[in-house]
């Protein structure tokens, strides 16, 4: 969207509130919702990618070397930590 959401007037909304620009969800930083985040212990990570596969929000990216880390779409749900084969992911509370 061209304008921040809280400045758009009703007249500027497209008919049916249709979004004409594909992929606009990319602009929405769902990481803001997070109250905890995953931390990988690399020494125990076997780079299997189960965390990347089970993440419901594409919140995990592959890093150079085949390891994984969260990106700014991670909502902190903890599914990756629950499903990690070696238990190398722990969920850490967010701090201000």
């Amino acid at each position: 969207m061209s304008k921040p959401m809280d400045q758009i007037t009703w007249q500027e909304i497209e008919v049916g509130a249709i979004l004409t620009e594909p992929g606009s969800a990319r602009a929405y930083d769902t990481g803001d919702w997070r109250s905890q985040h995953p931390v990988w212990t690399k020494s125990r990570c076997i780079r299997c990618g189960v965390c990347w596969t089970v993440c419901p929000e594409a919140g995990i990216s592959e890093e150079p070397g085949g390891y994984f880390d969260m990106n700014h779409y991670c909502k902190g749900c903890g599914i990756c930590a629950k499903e990690c084969v070696t238990g190398c992911i722990s969920m850490v509370p967010e701090e201000e």
Binding site: A17, I18, S24
Partner: protein
């Protein structure tokens, strides 16, 4: 009903009104239909499905397992840019409820006939307006028809109104279940060429297209939800002018002219009855008899229910002392039945306003004959002197 002006392209045929509606939808070249049968609407979609099966209508007919799915499928098909139609009644409309709001919020120009029927419980298959009044706030354009000819006319016009790019709102044609759906009436049909000229193919403003992707039905954060509702409210309010334009064009074509609030023998009337749907024809008979007896009684017929025609109503009531509002539904535990609530709101802030009286009548298929309106007028006239004894009366209730 105004006398139909004979046109060389038109011919009159006696037919069950439900079948006439299905022919209107066929003539309108509906491309997508999803429906589930429910009494008393069934004949409409039954005939449409036969037409599709026989190759007489080039449309996709989707059989679904519920009305919830019917409206969901209609939304999907309309979103692809197809001219979309469905019909339902009572419990079916209730089962569609959550999807109805989505159809209008997405601004999809679906046309739907509601064969008005009482809601359960107790189970009743017969007519009243309880079904549509429970779906009053769905954000659709809503009209009421009085007889078969009007049902045919409005079934065609609904598509033209809904598909106008300045409107783009789904539209409901309300017709009384059984009393109208199952009656056989002589109606004037227009030929395909005339209808095609009146109603060209639908060109959607947006549609689901893999080559030009859009998002329909995205969620709204608190920062934007209010603005979206405002846009919907304005679209529905402003559809008024476009509805009238389509009605005028149809009037020029057929000689049958429609107004948001129609007047019958209102000249000099001190007392006005206000009715909707096919009760209006019964009330006309009563008004004729009362006029012959020298009573200054007239009739207003509310055709357009959403957007509500406030200005038309105020203009039509001007000069009358007593307005008797007839509802065919209840708002249980509320201050007033639905039509009365709207009418009173229309007049509350006016410096000059008529007294109102409220009668609920014809619930769950109870028959209403002309003498009922005479008794109602007599009772309302008496209460206008003494003050009403209650907020509203349920006419004819025993005990």
């Amino acid at each position: 009903m105004m006398a139909a002006k004979a046109k060389p392209t038109a011919h009159r045929v006696g037919m069950e009104v439900s079948i006439a509606v299905s022919h209107a939808v066929q003539l309108a070249r509906a491309e997508a239909i999803a429906a589930y049968p429910i009494t008393p609407q069934t004949h409409i979609v039954e005939h449409l499905s036969t037409m599709v099966a026989n190759g007489d209508l080039d449309a996709e007919f989707v059989n679904v397992e519920s009305e919830h799915s019917a409206m969901s499928a209609c939304i999907g098909m309309s979103a692809t840019g197809a001219r979309t139609y469905t019909a339902t009644s009572s419990q079916g409309l209730a089962l569609m409820n959550e999807i109805l709001f989505i159809a209008s919020a997405l601004r999809l120009p679906i046309a739907m006939t509601v064969a008005n029927r009482a809601l359960s419980g107790p189970l009743s298959i017969w007519n009243d307006h309880g079904d549509i009044m429970a779906a009053r706030d769905i954000g659709w354009i809503q009209v009421f028809v009085e007889n078969g000819q009007e049902a045919f006319d409005h079934s065609v016009m609904a598509f033209k109104i809904a598909e106008n790019h300045k409107v783009l709102l789904p539209t409901i044609i309300n017709m009384d279940g059984f009393i109208l759906t199952h009656v056989v009436e002589a109606m004037e049909f227009l030929d395909q060429e005339t209808i095609d000229k009146f109603l060209p193919a639908y060109h959607p403003r947006f549609r689901l297209d893999p080559h030009q992707p859009v998002t329909m039905g995205a969620f709204a954060m608190p920062e934007i939800y209010t603005e979206m509702k405002m846009a919907h409210q304005m679209a529905l309010t402003e559809s008024y002018g476009h509805i009238l334009k389509v009605w005028k064009e149809w009037g020029d074509l057929t000689g049958r002219r429609y107004q948001p609030v129609e007047r019958y023998k209102t000249e000099g009337a001190k007392i006005l009855l206000l009715t909707m749907g096919c009760l209006s024809e019964v009330a006309e008979v009563a008004v004729d008899e009362m006029r012959e007896a020298g009573e200054e009684v007239g009739l207003l017929k509310l055709r357009l229910w959403r957007p509500f025609p406030f200005a038309d109503l105020r203009a039509a009531v001007a000069g009358a002392e007593l307005l008797i509002v007839i509802d065919r539904a209840l708002s249980l535990g509320g201050a007033a039945p639905p039509v009365l609530a709207e009418v009173r709101s229309a007049f509350y802030a006016q410096p000059q306003r008529p007294q109102t009286a409220s009668f609920v009548i014809g619930l769950g298929g109870r028959d209403v004959a002309p003498p009922a309106f005479k008794e109602i007028v007599a009772q309302a006239r008496a209460e206008a002197q003494t003050g009403p004894t209650q907020e509203f009366h349920i006419y004819g209730v025993r005990g």
